[in-house]
């Protein structure tokens, strides 16, 4: 392990950068927490959080300059989960990272919980923006990036959007504005899992037409630098995020190719698992598959 190459929060100067194998183990553990929490809550989205898990783990353990002990540290990097319905994915990773006790995940979606169905920044320290109404997260990200430039602060702002979500027109208003102001300190991460909640039907099976064609060309046309990655490969994600940080003069969009429900074969690619609660048997089966497929000496497949 090497000492983190990037800035770290005041409480974490000596935190070593995790290895790829460690990141894979963290991803597997986050997936276990997600599936258990949705099962316990009897509600919540599951397909989207599982497609976003590796990206979130990479952000919070490998990329963001943050300090879980000081969630209001002014120089922290910002993260906005614009696809707010994947909240349990973010909560699982925040808990693993030490923002709050892992046991608190049992309160997800319950009355008085800090872990709301959709992220509420007034309840949970560590959330940089409230989200849930799709298409709205990129604009505050642009505002934060503009604010960082005005303040002369070195932080970066990262916004995760879904590919169904970018059907919303406001995303493209924000995309234009970020490019117009040449904000190279904001990054959009597209969780490109190609399955919205219901979508336009495709003939046959449980697949659906992809919600948006060629997002890379669209972001490029709006003046963004575009980087592609495998959203379930930590080396690929690390390289893409590093490319975003290094790029100057334009905002960067990381197109992360993902699989909705990734890691649980009976969920993968099935739009019905957008928001569905696993039964006890399904939970057992899913946890067993994570142990078998995503962990182990070889570090799993991803």
């Amino acid at each position: 392990m090497s000492v983190a190459e990037t800035r770290a929060g005041p409480s974490e100067r000596q935190r070593p950068r995790p290895s790829l194998a460690e990141l894979r183990e963290l991803s597997a553990e986050a997936r276990r927490l997600i599936i258990r929490a949705v099962h316990t809550a009897g509600a919540g989205h599951i397909g989207g959080p599982l497609s976003a898990t590796d990206l979130l783990v990479s952000l919070y353990f490998d990329t963001l300059n943050i300090d879980p002990q000081r969630p209001d540290w002014p120089e922290r990097d910002r993260f906005i989960l614009s696809k707010g319905h994947s909240s349990i994915g973010l909560y699982a990773v925040l808990a693993l990272r030490g923002y709050f006790p892992i046991e608190e995940l049992d309160t997800f979606d319950q009355i008085d919980s800090r872990l709301q169905g959709h992220p509420d920044m007034t309840r949970l320290p560590g959330l940089d923006m409230s989200t849930g109404s799709l298409g709205q997260g990129l604009s505050p990200g642009v505002g934060m990036a503009l604010g960082a430039r005005l303040r002369g602060l070195p932080f970066r702002t990262w916004v995760m959007v879904g590919d169904g979500e970018i059907q919303e027109g406001q995303i493209w208003e924000a995309a234009y504005t970020a490019a117009r102001y040449e904000l190279d300190n904001v990054t959009a991460i597209l969780d490109y899992n190609r399955l919205p909640q219901f979508g336009w039907p495709d003939p046959g099976g449980f697949t659906r037409e992809r919600p948006i064609d060629d997002p890379a060309a669209k972001f490029a046309a709006f003046g963004w630098h575009v980087v592609d990655c495998d959203g379930h490969d930590h080396q690929s994600i690390r390289d893409a995020f590093a490319g975003a940080v290094a790029h100057r003069g334009q905002p960067t969009c990381v197109i992360a190719r993902t699989v909705k429900g990734y890691g649980i074969s009976f969920m993968e690619g099935d739009f019905n698992w957008h928001a569905k609660v696993p039964t006890g048997d399904q939970l057992t089966e899913a946890l067993a598959e994570i142990d078998r497929r995503l962990t182990g000496q070889d570090g799993g497949e991803g």
Binding site: V142, A145, L153
Partner: protein, 324 residues
């Protein structure tokens, strides 16, 4: 309890365009508050944010014709400690960007100043799309949003100073055209405080925004007939000055409300809701009666849609016949 202020005489009053006073006041505030920014939705030369853009160019940000993004960017800037003031028309602020205000500004209680220019029906012959008669109802119903409608440029300037000292989302309802100055220059606006502009025991007239000027004219019309009317100006529609309303209802026993806004959910709605619980009182409401507008000269619009001083006075007389 309401403040008591003697209104300046309407005859010979100075006429000032609120939008120009707004643009200049932003420049003045910028000198005292380094975190004040102005974000414009490509309407600065109408809202008169161009006065600010000219004077403080490095703190003016053009966001183009994209109101949803405009409000979202403001929310992001507010999280970094800036105080963004929004420059657009009320029609677009309160409706086009409504969900953005709800999700990323009002619910997280971020410090964004929501300025809606061209409110009501007097919008320079632009007609139905640009008039706004539902905005007060919208923002009153939104938890945590203070709603202010000043009567003139003096009150506007004082209200803007109060807004800078009050963290959180505040909606400021502005009108387009020059209107008479009724407040003396030493007047101080306070959020949530009504202002008793005239005291009379026969009937209470309640106004808000620039419609209060026409309410004062109505009080003059009634005085000429021997009817002594109180005039209560409510520049803050939320939180409402309940104590001032109850005191007025108790003193006069009958109220007329008047606003350049729908009577549904606006001042009339707010007063009726409040007094029916706190001090049931006969009320007549002057304002938009569940209809859309049209383009036309100001006088013609006020006449056709029933907002003139004569309409207020007629309602007062009618109400007095009913209750006496």
């Amino acid at each position: 309890m309401a403040a008591t202020v003697t209104a300046l005489p309407l005859a010979g009053a100075e006429h000032v365009a609120m939008r120009e006073a707004w643009g200049q006041a932003l420049v003045d505030l910028a000198g005292r508050y380094p975190d004040l920014l102005v974000l414009d939705g490509d309407l600065a030369n109408s809202t008169r944010a161009d006065i600010f853009a000219e004077a403080v160019p490095d703190r003016f940000f053009e966001m183009g014709i994209a109101e949803q993004n405009l409000l979202g960017v403001a929310a992001g800037l507010a999280t970094v400690g800036y105080v963004p003031w929004i420059s657009t028309f009320t029609a677009f602020l309160a409706k086009r960007a409504l969900d953005q205000i709800r999700v990323v500004i009002a619910q997280p209680h971020l410090n964004v100043k929501l300025c809606g220019s061209y409110s009501g029906i007097l919008t320079g012959k632009t007609g139905k799309t640009h008039q706004s008669v539902e905005d007060v109802a919208v923002f009153r119903a939104m938890p945590g949003v203070v709603t202010i409608a000043p009567a003139d440029a003096v009150e506007l300037r004082s209200a803007m100073a109060a807004m800078m000292e009050t963290p959180g989302p505040i909606y400021l309802r502005l009108t387009r055209d020059p209107s008479p100055t009724i407040f003396p220059s030493d007047y101080t606006f306070r959020i949530g405080e009504g202002v008793l502009l005239r005291d009379g025991g026969d009937i209470g007239l309640v106004g808000t925004g620039t419609q209060t000027v026409r309410v004062l004219e109505a009080a003059d019309l009634l005085a000429a007939e021997g009817i002594a009317a109180s005039v209560l100006h409510l520049p803050t529609l939320k939180p409402l000055d309940t104590a001032a309303l109850v005191a007025l209802a108790d003193r006069t026993g009958a109220l007329v409300t008047a606003e350049d806004h729908s009577i549904i959910g606006g001042l009339g709605g707010a007063v009726a809701e409040t007094l029916s619980e706190e001090h049931p009182t006969p009320i007549r409401r002057i304002g938009w009666r569940d209809t859309y507008g049209e383009s036309g000269p100001n006088d013609a619009l006020l006449e056709k849609y029933g907002l003139t001083a004569r309409h207020v006075a007629d309602a007062a007389r009618d109400l007095l016949r009913t209750v006496r």
